[in-house]
Symmetry: C2
Subunit: 210 residues, 2 copies
């Protein structure tokens, strides 16, 4: 399957499809875009286009074979190919991504956490959190593809710079500031504030006092 340009919205819909199809009863062999759209309250055409982009298993009258569709979506999401990552953050925040795997397969393989407030190693579940000073030594014998920034606003750029100079190819930024990264590094920003604001605005629209 070729990599074509896809919208953020489509990316967000994909895992929803995947989870929905997985919850279908075993005896369901095929599923159509129409049925998925109705079940999930989405536009029929959107769903059909999305599926067409990731799978060519669609048959007239039948829809898509569930098994094949699951495989195709998973392959599109690339969750088989692990991406090594480390998280830098403060205290409890760290544990978010250290335990994210519980949600479902994301393809992210979080190797360790780093905490500036920590003086000695600590273990959360199966993951180790190191003091931030050990960031450099940790990278010495490992390839780490992605750095996740969960630090305070003040520490974010510094930690980002260190990770970049240690060779990460991508930065996943959870802080609400702009990070400067070199051209060759991919930056993905996550904005909780934007989500909360969106929620608030929709509440206001329906006349809620917020």
């Amino acid at each position: 399957m070729e990599t074509k340009k896809v919208s953020n919205n489509m990316l967000a819909r994909m895992p929803i499809y995947l989870n929905y199809i997985k919850t279908l009863p075993q005896e369901t062999k095929n599923i159509s875009a129409t049925k998925i759209a109705n079940a999930l309250g989405l536009g029929e055409v959107s769903v059909r286009k999305d599926l067409a982009k990731v799978s060519d298993g669609g048959r007239c009258k039948l829809g898509y074979p569930c098994e094949e569709l699951i495989k195709d979506i998973e392959s599109f999401l690339g969750i088989q190919r692990k991406m090594e990552a480390v998280v830098a953050g403060n205290g409890e925040m760290l544990q978010l991504l250290l335990s994210y795997d519980g949600f479902g397969p994301s393809g992210l393989d979080i190797l360790a956490g780093f905490d500036a407030n920590l003086k000695e190693e600590s273990v959360i579940g199966e993951k180790v959190i190191y003091p931030m000073e050990q960031l450099e030594s940790f990278f010495e014998n490992k390839k780490v593809l992605i750095g996740i920034i969960l630090t305070s606003v003040g520490d974010a750029q510094d930690v980002c710079d260190r990770m970049v100079s240690l060779g990460v190819e991508g930065i996943w930024n959870f802080t609400p500031i702009h990070l400067n990264v070199p051209e060759h590094v991919v930056l993905q920003n996550e904005s909780f504030t934007a989500s909360i604001t969106k929620l608030r605005m929709q509440l206001q629209e329906k006349g809620e006092e917020v």
Copy 2:
């Protein structure tokens, strides 16, 4: 300031502006859209339009008075008006939002956490996590506007239903499944998988093996 239609991207940019302006040296009294755009690597026109939507303090030749702009953005984001919320989740996941305030003012006032795996109350920082059974009794004497779903995929719809019937007006969903909510309830989905996939795709585009 009237509430106009705004894009998700604009919502995501707002907190970035806010944090940037706050880091300016004290003696900077005015800031222009041009300067912000250059500093943050954004399009000049986008920034100007964004600012025009939230503030009318713009002056030709000068730009915006920093203090006023900060106030206007904060007012747009609504961070003074707290929205009461509870989080339902499993184990460590919960702590994400229980400690989110450290990131910056979000306007979200998280009253408590609820964990299905917990048998008795536990305290994280200043927040209490209760066993999930106590959800109903907790709502008895409190108005809770927003329910945050950080549960496992399997528990999500059930917890969502309970929160809705207890009267929340909005659901902030971190699980990768479609939640059914009544028309009058606002649903905001957060998709980590989509973000990770986007990151992965951009890495692939630049020829990274992922």
